[in-house]
């Protein structure tokens, strides 16, 4: 048997094992029997003894606990909280000023060509903004925010907190045992709550398509909180492997794969995250990097679009698989940017970019796998129903 490393498996970046950082939960992962792999400079659990497939299914059925402490947590603070919001709007095509206290919103940093430099979550925590960015991009994101926002706004990376995600239909009931009023939170609400005896910054959100919570917890209290959550019979620890298949079925983009500096919010089909007020005709239209490019794409469409792809057969179509319009000949009309087996779907699922003319749901295309062109159908995203509590 000869195993091919997936071309760019997101948790399997080629890095030396030396100098990898540990999250506050590292020892807990090892004690739980996790297989650790390098990811974005951290030694992270890719799976536990349960295995990727069962971890995925458990999260959809009950609740899974994820360590996402490698992600960047950043506080933006100004004397006038409105000033911080206004300043951040210069970096994202998103309505930050209109984000109410105790609410969170998805956003992305754009570049001068309208490409996406990273995607992030912005929370309005009253007297400051709390931003969560991707691990691999955090140094660049912080530098970008410092350059654009300081000195009026202070940009402070929070390195003394772990970040946990509890995801799945049982997540609310599990957390309610620690804080009964958690049931009052709605999707994308943020609150400061005492969990495990510590001040936690909690949002009702996640990256699995399920209901769930992300919990920023002081590192000194992180292991105890994680253990307390894992003590519940409905909670299992979940690694990066299942995190990837869960988010793929949920149609959520992975930065560096489904979106990057060359894909725009229009081609990535993320314009839902650009509120009217920042679009042409809006009160605060434009004013972010690449606004002209993005607006012209909004008006005239773009060459390629991100779509869901459902292979007709059983063979997974992984990242890098080229998409063709016909069974033989012709140039590639697109490519897969994320793909694999969807345990909940019970078959292969993928997403990728195809020519806009071929991006209509139901269009039959071909993915070239090991030299063979196999049928694949443009499909609606997400592949599984969302479990959010709105």
């Amino acid at each position: 048997m000869r195993t091919h490393r997936p071309e760019r498996e997101n948790w399997d970046v080629s890095e030396d094992d030396d100098g990898l950082k540990h999250t506050p939960l590292y020892d807990l992962h090892v004690s739980l029997g996790a297989k650790m792999v390098p990811f974005a400079g951290y030694d992270m659990p890719v799976q536990y003894p349960l295995g990727v497939l069962k971890e995925h299914q458990h999260t959809r059925a009950k609740a899974g606990l994820f360590d996402v402490s490698h992600m960047g947590q950043v506080v933006l603070r100004a004397k006038d909280p409105e000033a911080a919001k206004r300043a951040l709007e210069a970096l994202v095509p998103v309505d930050v000023l209109g984000l109410g206290e105790g609410r969170q919103r998805y956003a992305f940093f754009t570049n001068d060509h309208g490409g996406i430099e990273d995607d992030l979550m912005i929370a309005n925590r009253g007297d400051h903004l709390f931003v969560v960015v991707n691990a691999a991009c955090k140094a660049a994101d912080i530098a970008r925010m410092r350059a654009a926002l300081e000195p009026e706004v202070t940009v402070k990376e929070i390195t003394t907190r772990a970040l946990l995600a509890l995801q799945g239909p049982a997540a609310e009931a599990v957390l309610a045992e620690h804080y009964p009023n958690i049931t009052n939170m709605k999707f994308m609400d943020v609150e400061t709550l005492p969990l495990g005896g510590a001040e936690c910054w909690v949002s009702r959100s996640g990256y699995t398509g399920e209901d769930g919570f992300e919990i920023s917890v002081p590192e000194a209290a992180a292991v105890d909180l994680a253990k307390a959550l894992l003590a519940h019979e409905d909670v299992e620890p979940i690694g990066l492997g299942a995190r990837d298949s869960l988010r793929l079925e949920a149609g959520l983009c992975l930065y560096g794969h489904d979106i990057d500096s060359s894909t725009t919010p229009v081609s990535a089909q993320l314009t839902w995250a650009m509120q009217k007020v920042r679009r042409p005709g809006g009160d605060r239209a434009g004013g972010f990097p690449g606004a002209d490019e993005i607006f012209s794409e909004l008006a005239e469409s773009c060459a390629q679009k991100r779509v869901g792809l459902r292979p007709d057969g059983r063979a997974p179509m992984r990242e890098g698989v080229e998409i063709f319009a016909s069974e033989e000949g012709g140039e590639a009309v697109g490519r897969v940017t994320s793909g694999g087996f969807g345990p909940t779907v019970g078959g292969p699922v993928a997403m990728g970019y195809v020519s806009s003319a071929l991006a209509t749901e139901g269009t039959q295309l071909y993915g070239e796998v090991r030299g063979k062109r196999l049928l694949v159908t443009v499909a609606k995203l997400p592949f599984v129903p969302q479990g959010f509590k709105r």
């Binding site: 048997m1 000869r2 195993t3 997936p6 498996e9 990727v52 059983r314 063979a315 997974p316």
Partner: protein, 119 residues
Amino acid sequence: MKFTEEHEWLDADGDVVTVGITEHAAEQLGDVVFVELPEVGTSVNKDDEVVVIESVKAASDILAPIDGEIVEVNEAIVEDPGKVNDDPQGAAWFFKIKAEDASQMDDLMDEAAYKDFIG
């Protein structure tokens, strides 16, 4: 039963050899979600890629361990790839090959040597 460094097992019955992957290999692969088998009647040479196997993590090939002709394949693992994780050294065999030269198996490891090999 004989073992290869590529983590395959071979079980000879006369000149017909049943081939599968070891428990160690199945564990390393993780949950198997796709198997593509060769066609019966195919003639193969040692080290030809004869089977594609995909797990939740990666794609792998099974190489022909010896020269010969594929005489039977296990369609049950195509229908239910999870069987490969459940019983890799039993019910989840991959194919049977009619050996051209059974002496090609002489250099393969026995079970004790394979156990040493995987540490």
